[in-house]
Amino acid sequence: MIKIKNLHANIDGKEILKGIDLEVKAGEVHAIMGPNGSGKSTLANVLAGNENFEVTEGEVIYEGKELLEMDPDVRAREGVFLAFQYPIEIPGITNATFLKTALNEIRKHKGEEEITAKGFLDLMKQKASILGMDPAMISRAVNVGFSGGEKKKNEIFQMLMLNPKLALLDETDSGLDIDALKVVSEGVNAFRNDKNAVLLVTHYQRLLNYIVPDYVHVLYKGRIIKSGGKDLALELEEKGYDWIKDEQLETESA
C-alpha cells in the first residue's frame, strides 16, 4: 500500500528524519515506537502532508502514486488519514458539518454520489455506537469543550466515518485512561480489515496489548534501527530503549 524510501525531512532547517525505509501492505498493522524526539510524530505528519515539515530527500509511493506530490487534502481524498496527537478545536463548525463536508469530498473524488441526510445520520449512529459516543455530539462544534480523551475518541470516530485506506495514528494513546484506551482500541480493531492498513505511532507498549501489530519498528534519531514482530514491543517495555541504543552504537562503531 505504501512504500517509503530513504525519507529525509526537516523542520525549521533541522533534520528530523534521516532516511526512513518502510513498507506497509494492505491488511497490516505497523507500530512505530521510539524515545521522545526520535521523529515518530514527524513521520506521521510528513505522510499526511503537514506543510511545517520540509521533505529534503526520498520518495513515498502510495497505491502506485507519488504521495509527496499531493496536497494534504488530496492525500486524504486518496485514503490517507491522520489521527492527530493534539486534535484542533474548530468553533462554529459542528461535527456534522465537518464530517459531511469531508465525506462528500472523498465520495466526489471517488466518483460517488453525495451521501443523503439519512444515510449520513445512519452511518454516524452506527460508528458512534462502536465507540459508545452520544450521537448528540454531532451537533456540537468540532472538539470544542471536549476533554483530552474525548478529542482522541473523536479522531477515531472521524476515522471510522471517513473509512480511509491508510490510517496514521499519532500517539492516539497518550493521555488516555485505561477505559478510554480500550474503547479507542476497539474502534481501531473494528476498522481493521484486509484492504486497509494502520501505522500507529506510540511511545508506550500499552496500546499494543489491545491493538496487536504485525510489525514493530524502533525509530531512533530519525532512523529505523530495529524491526521485529509484536514481541519486540514487549521486549522494549521490559528493557526500555537503552539496549537498542547501545546495540546501535556498537553497529555504528563496528
Binding site: 499526511a48 502532508g49 503537514n50 506543510e51 511545517n52 496536497d71 494534504p72 487534502d73 492525500r75 486524504a76 481524498r77 488519514f81 491522520l82 492527530f84 486534535p87 484542533i88 478545536e89 474548530i90 468553533p91 462554529g92 463548525i93 459542528t94 461535527n95 456534522a96 458539518t97 465537518f98 464530517l99 459531511k100 463536508t101 469531508a102 469530498e105 472523498i106 473524488h109 441526510a117 445520520l121 454531532i138 451537533s139 462544534a141 472521524q158 471517513l162
Partner: protein
Amino acid sequence: MNNKTRPNEWYVSNFEKFESKLNGQSESFVHTIRKDAINRLNEMEFPTTRDEEWKYTNVAPLLKNDFLPTYSFENPKINSEDLRKYIFENFECDILVFVNGLFNDELSKVGKLPSGAVVDSLNNVIKNNPDLIKDKFNTLTKVQNAFNALNNAYGVDGAVIFIPDGIILERPIQLVYLGGNGTDKVLSLPRNLIIAGKNAQAKILANYAGYGDVPYFTNTVTEIFADESAIIDYYKTQHENTNSYHIDRTDINQKGKSVFSHTAFSFGGLLVRSDINSELEGEFMECNYYGLNLARENQHVDTHTFVDHAKPNCQSNELYKTILDDKARGVFSGKIMVRQDAQKTNAYQSNKAVLLSKTATIDSKPQLEIYADDVKCSHGATVGSLDEEAYMYIRSRGIPDDLAKSMLIRAFANDVVDNVKIEEVKEQLNHLIFEHLQRVEITDISKY
C-alpha cells in the same frame, strides 16, 4: 485647501427649502433642536484626518457628494415581497421599516404589545405623545461633530421603543432601514430612541440595508437608555451597498444593575464609521460590546468605542473581530475610562483581525485611562492570517482549500455570532458573512 465651497454649504443653503416642506412637523419641540443643529453645522467643519478621532478615516470622498435631503427626492416603491430581500426572517418579530429615514407604515408590522409599551415612529410619538420622550430625546447625543449636526438638522424620523418598568417584550423588534432610491444620491438620516424602564427587557435588531446601486449616505443616530436592572440586547447589522456611506453614532446610558449588550455586524458600505459610547451611571452593571467587521476590495470600516466607568463595581467587556480581504482597510479604536470613583471595575477589551490578503491593513488603537486603583482592566490586539494548524487539520480530512478557509472564517466569526440570542438570525448572519466575503458558504447541517 479646497477651491470647492465648504461641504457644509450645500446642507446649510438647502435648509430653508427643507424646512418649508416640513408642514406641521415644524411645530414640535424637535424643530428647535433642528434649527440649533443647522446653526451648529454652519459653524463647524466636518472632521478631517487631522482630528485624532478621525486620524485613520478620511471622509473627504464622502463630502465630495451633495446628498439630497429628505423631501427632495422620490422614495422607491417597495412592497412586502421586495422587503423580504432585506430583512431577517423565520422568527416572530415586530417590524418597523424606514426608507431613507422616512417611516413606511404599510411595510411595518407591530403586534399587540404589553400595556404602556410603544414601538412606533418618532413622528407618530411626537404627534401623539411627545411627553413620553421629551426629557430623554437628544440628551445623550450632544452634537459632537458635523455628522451629528447633519442628522439633527435634517433627520425627519426614526424608531422609538419605549418599554415601561417591569415589562418584558417577548418578541424581538426588527428595525429595518433601507438606504438609497436607485436614482439619486440621497441622504438617509434615521434618528432613534430606545427607553427601557426599570426591570424592562427587550431584544432589538437594527438592520441597515441598501436599495439599488446608486451611492447614498446613511448617517444615523441612536440613543439608548437602560434604567435600573433592565436587560437590553441590541443587535446591529449593516449591509449597505458597497459604494455607499454609513456613519452611525450610538449613545447608551445605563443605570444600576442593568445589562446592555451591543452586537454589531458590518458587511457593506464603502466607508463605514461607527461610534458607540456608553455612560455607566450606577453600580453592578454589565456592558458588553461585540462586533464583527468584514471588508473587501476598497471598503473601509472603522469602529470607535468609548466606555465610561463612573461608578464602582461594574463590568465592561468588548470583543471586536475584523476580517479584511483585498485592499480593504479596518480601524478599531477602543477607549475605556475608569474614573476615580469607579473602584472594583472589571474592564476587558479584545480586538482581533484576520487579513486574507497582503494588501489589507488594520489600525488598532486600544486606550485605557484609569484613575481608580482597585480595578481589573486588560486589552489586547492581534493581527494575523487564518489559523494554520486548524487549516492543516481541516484539509487533512479531505476538505479542499476554499472550503477549509471558509470553515476557518466561520470559526473566527463564531464568538461574535454566538452572542446573538435569536437562533434563526445566527445562520442568516453566517450566510451574509460568506456572501460579503464572496467565499464558498459553509452551512450548518446539524439540525435535522
